[in-house]
Subunit: 338 residues, 2 copies
């Protein structure tokens, strides 16, 4: 299936998700808080005037909606639209707090929320968006038992995210992080959310337990594969396409290829974590990583995880249109590697 | 009913609530995060060793359990125990983030979480406790429709809390805050939670709509009355009993009596917000407040709100034992004013 089908699906279905997000956020009840929420989501500028700033690719809501279609029920998309809004709000809540925790000053080309309004108000605005994500999910149009089950998955995912974030922050202080620990961290930080997207979509769309579990596995593997690939792109990708330009190596980020290389080559580990390597030596760091075979190991790990995810997907017995589009979405995410 | 009945009730019923809190928190899945959660709740020291530090008075869980008893169903306390854990976790989440936002370094006589572990990990730990509060609530033993309804109330309350906190932070920069704006702020920051405690308890205990609404009003009024009284105690209370010793005036806190006085006396407003009044002049500030009649106005506002709350309670038609204990709990909170 061509990526055009996905692009069409997103163009057709995401506006209803965004309308849901807007209506939840607009219920904030106090103008200053509403402006901050709308600013972060790209709906308004810092003065509260409507604008249309980049708000992300809305991959996660698309995963929810397409997973909801798997059971083949006609009303599935409407049933899952509030949940699609919920996961996007939740994702954005985590970005607000991550930006504070990491001290990042730019997000999607604009100053981060805390940079404009300060840390205190921005922690609180993140909390508001967290609460509103739950409000959105509670608007799901499905039997009470299904909505409750989705809430359970959502709550566990939120705990998983904070677990992953705890590990990520603690890794900053360490030079002995293993590749296995790293995979454990991204299982929370990246994959918990994509897993929950697919699982919640399937629950609300009316899938049976086996299909729900298969789609959840697909979502998890997709998230892990995507993160590992993103790590590879940060080192070997086209800087124009990734917008990264060696910054991962320059900032001594602990990514999958780096940690694999560090396990294999103690000299590389020492040079990488010493921090006294100049920017002009980034090429030599890259060569050291390659010499350990870590590049191939990274690509193999990403591909194996991706393939396993697609196997779960193709074996889930879902409606062919939905499965075809989920597969195309996965492919388009993965085809970023060029 | 003597306060002893309340003390007995708390001694008998709160251990099960705390056991629920512990089991939710212990599922954190990573030792460092678990230690931080347990430290804040008073279950452990900063090294993760079990200890029994002050964890708060557990008023909110008691409100949940007693409101659940109103419908007179024998299993009500068991049904509502997870919700009682949820509101206490939620309350503690808000304390973790408030301490960061306010820069407070002490909480219940121990260093605040961020003071021990830094801001980044502590924002994230607050988020974890927020998510876990939802997990706890989802453990409620009640029909799915009732649990979902409780989740709705919980989510709205969380949004209300962030609304109140947004206003509270924004008030710090302003010298023109009105007493009406202040009441609007505490409606979110203090009363939203006590209201939700009673409403959720009643929902899970099996109350009908009228009883749920009456108990919700009782909870809201109790929270507002308690906060206004707390403001009065901060100025006129016995410093030994309140532990405050004029700090509200010294820090130029915008409390209800101060804002009433500022509306009535422009000279007081200017002196109070100028900030050039020495500590030794606190007595004269207090006299200026009293000269406007703000002390009487504060006491009248607290009493009227408290009385209205008790009226909702006594008219709710609940089981006499539960209503008697809720009334005694309210009385014991209010009798702090001496």
């Amino acid at each position: 299936m061509p990526n055009q089908a996905i692009a069409n699906f997103i163009a057709e279905r995401i506006p209803a998700v965004e309308a849901n997000m807007r209506s939840v956020v607009d219920s904030a009840g106090v103008e200053g808080l509403r402006t901050m929420l709308r600013y972060h989501l790209g709906f308004a500028d810092a003065q509260g005037r409507s604008e249309r700033a980049p708000g992300g690719k809305r991959i996660r809501p698309a995963l929810v909606l397409l997973s909801a279609m798997a059971a083949g029920q006609p009303a599935a998309i409407a049933a899952a639209t509030p949940a699609a809004a919920a996961v996007e709000l939740l994702h954005n809540f985590s970005l607000i707090h991550d930006d504070i925790e990491d001290g990042d000053t730019l997000r999607r080309g604009r100053p981060t929320l805390w940079k404009v309004w300060g840390i205190a108000q921005s922690i609180n605005t993140g909390d508001a968006m967290f609460a509103m994500a739950h409000q959105a999910l509670l608007g799901s149009v499905a039997p009470a038992e299904r909505v409750l089950r989705a809430m359970h998955v959502f709550a566990s995912m939120c705990v998983g995210l904070t677990r992953g974030q705890h590990l990520d922050i603690s890794f900053e202080q360490r030079t002995d992080v293993t590749a296995t620990e790293y995979l454990d961290m991204i299982a929370g930080k990246t994959a918990a959310l994509t897993e929950a997207c697919c699982e919640i979509g399937a629950i609300l769309g009316g899938s049976d337990d086996a299909q729900i579990a298969a789609l959840a596995r697909f979502g998890r593997d997709l998230g892990v594969a995507f993160q590992i690939q993103d790590d590879a792109l940060g080192i070997w990708g086209d800087p124009i396409r990734t917008g990264k330009a060696d910054s991962d190596l320059a900032h001594r980020k602990k990514t999958y290829p780096v940690l694999v290389a560090a396990e294999r080559d103690p000299i590389f580990r020492a040079r990488y974590f010493d921090g006294d390597v100049e920017s002009r030596d980034l090429a030599s760091l890259r060569e050291m990583i390659e010499a350990t075979g870590a590049r191939e190991a990274t690509e193999a790990a990403a591909t194996a995880t991706y393939d396993r995810g697609l196997e779960s997907l193709s074996g889930c017995g879902g409606a062919p249109e939905a499965i075809g589009m989920l597969s195309a979405l996965a492919h388009s995410l993965f085809a970023r590697a060029a």
